[in-house]
């Protein structure tokens, strides 16, 4: 094959079959991928991988065929990997018989054999299923400057922006191939130039912006470009503490799903912005001013695509991306206060909160009071992916409300702010 990347003799050998035919195809895929983006060389990845594909969706049989080829050739990820959340948890996210039939027979019928494939390829463990793989409880925390081979847009944007790691917005399968090879083609967000901002975002609000709407506004404006956000530190501070990280996680997921942002910088806060400041901004950067009116305009633009736009909500999803330990505690306090204000002891709707298995275990152990508050209020805790739940055509028709702008973007769920959704969940209506 003809290619432009400069390969080492070892890499060229792999391409020519020194490690077998299947590994040669893995290498060929990555070389063509690198060539498409002008990469000149491969760079080694550091640490564990993260896969976007965690679901045994029957329609992805061609993907399972590739997995079988890899396994058959004895290939695996030596450093192990985490993966996105599982799709279903009938104990905590109830489904009727027909919904279960669709999940089990039509959609996720390949879940068990697929998980067996993941284990053979190097899955970190049975509790490694979460989109928030970068949390300490999960054990896949990259360091600043680490080169990653990850997919899952919310994880990539967090690792790049908050942790200062370096990862492109890879597609499923490509991220697995990079982890197996232990190298990725160097381009875009892996380079200093690719990490420079094409946009300056000036936050000029009169109060702390709702993370999910701010991220949505930024994503819709800059699409895949890198934004440098000024003025946000006045509302969330200059310390990367647990509360701030939770805010940035949610804001970033919205930038990545409402647009295609893979990296953002926050002045005086995120690692590269602290280190390099305005030197991260390209000379031709455009400016986008966000004030209260702009955030309201963006929020008002979200369509209501429920089958019955005036339906009473049935289910509430909180935790897309998965919640942190600190956020679970904040939600426990928020619901406690709202129940007290409305004179109630339990929420009126089916409220589901999602977090990584390790985070839920940590929460149950180290914030027992908070855990008990949520359980006593009738709230369900689970580690599924709400998106995959709503991919079921029947579940997708339900009147679901969420505080996640990512879930809103990909499903029929309606978005409400944290405060609004707390009130709705307790009151039982909008």
């Amino acid at each position: 094959m003809q290619y432009k990347m400069k390969l080492t003799p070892e890499e060229e050998g792999i391409l020519n079959g020194s490690q077998g035919e299947v590994m040669a195809k893995v290498m060929k895929t990555l070389v063509l991928y690198g060539d498409a983006f002008g990469a000149e060389r491969f760079v080694p990845v550091v640490g564990k991988g993260h896969l976007v594909t965690s679901f045994g969706l029957s329609v992805l049989q061609p993907v399972f065929d590739i997995m079988d080829e890899l396994i058959g050739a004895g290939l695996k990820v030596e450093e192990s990997f985490t993966a996105d959340p599982r799709p279903i948890d009938y104990a905590n996210v109830k489904c009727n018989l027909i919904e279960k039939l669709i999940f089990n027979k039509m959609m996720y019928g390949a879940q068990d054999p697929y998980e067996a494939q993941l284990h053979k390829l190097g899955l970190k463990g049975d509790d490694a299923f979460t989109c928030a793989s970068y949390l300490s409880e999960v054990g896949n925390v990259p360091g600043k400057g680490d080169i990653l081979s990850w997919a899952e847009s919310s994880a990539v944007v967090y690792a790049n922006s908050v942790l200062g790691a370096r990862c492109n917005r890879n597609s499923g399968i490509i991220e697995l191939f990079g982890s197996i090879l232990g190298k990725v083609p160097e381009f875009d967000l892996l380079t200093d130039e690719g990490r420079k901002a094409k946009w300056i975002i000036e936050v000029k609000t009169t109060k702390k912006p709702e993370a999910q709407i701010l991220g949505s506004a930024i994503g819709m404006k800059v699409m895949e470009d890198v934004p440098f956000i000024k003025g946000l530190d006045q509302w969330i501070g200059t310390e990367l503490n647990e509360a701030t990280k939770g805010y940035l996680k949610d804001m970033g997921a919205a930038t990545a799903s409402n647009g295609a942002v893979g990296l953002y910088h926050v002045e005086n806060l995120t690692p590269e912005a602290v280190e390099l400041g305005d030197a991260l901004i390209r000379e031709d950067a455009k400016v986008y001013v966000i004030d209260d009116a702009e955030l309201q305009r963006v929020k008002n633009g979200y369509p209501n695509i429920w089958k019955d736009p005036n339906a009473k909500p049935e289910r509430v999803f909180i935790g897309c991306p998965h919640l942190t330990f600190t956020q679970l505690g904040e939600w426990a306090d928020r619901f406690e206060a709202e129940l007290k204000a409305q004179g109630k002891t339990k929420v009126a709707l089916n409220v589901v909160m999602t977090a990584a298995p390790g985070v839920l275990a940590h929460f149950k152990q180290d914030n027992k009071a908070g855990y008990d508050k949520l359980i006593a209020a009738g709230i369900k805790l689970t580690s599924i992916c709400p998106l995959m739940y709503m991919n079921n055509p029947l579940c997708g028709k339900k009147a679901v409300v969420t505080n996640s702008n990512k879930l809103r973007t990909y499903t029929t769920a309606r978005y409400f702010t944290d405060a609004e959704i707390t009130t709705i969940a307790v009151k039982g209506e909008i």
Partner: protein, 149 residues
């Protein structure tokens, strides 16, 4: 009257007189292909309600003309899967530089699917997307030359 545009072949190949389907906004791969693939249809009818240009149109064996793809990072493997299932578009012609998800999809199809491929040409420019309309006949050459009739 024919009009010719020159782009960069990402996955080179030839297409002769195939029908164009045009999206002026980014194409959400997962949202567009998932429903037809899920129900194992013989053709992909676009299911993305947020894309008025493509919604409910047949995409199988068509030439999709678009700026880029958007959406979930599952996008590449969805494209690869529909190619393996034999229900993919025959070509994707991008007015902008190809994005990482679409590139993954067409390259995975090229390397891992036997006897089928999705021809991909990028950098065709805004003038291409302004000119091409649904139903026009598209011819693509190995070198990335696109002729619109």
């Amino acid at each position: 009257m024919s009009k010719v545009f020159k782009g960069r072949p990402v996955v080179a190949g030839t297409i002769q007189g195939k029908e164009a389907v045009v999206s002026h906004q980014g194409v959400n791969t997962l949202a567009s292909f998932q429903k037809s693939a899920l129900f194992k249809k013989k053709q992909v009818i676009c299911s993305d309600q947020n894309n008025p240009d493509l919604y409910q149109k047949n995409l199988t064996d068509k030439v999709i003309c678009l700026p880029k793809t958007i959406g979930s990072t599952t996008g590449g493997m969805v494209l690869y899967s529909v190619c393996a299932m034999g229900i993919a578009p025959c070509a994707m012609l991008f007015s902008e530089p190809i994005d990482s998800l679409a590139a993954a999809g067409v390259i995975l199809s090229d390397v891992w699917v036997k006897d089928k491929t999705i021809v991909a040409v990028d950098n065709l420019g805004d003038a291409f997307l302004d000119y091409v309309k649904d139903g026009m006949k598209i011819t693509v050459d190995e070198d990335g030359t696109v002729t619109v009739d």
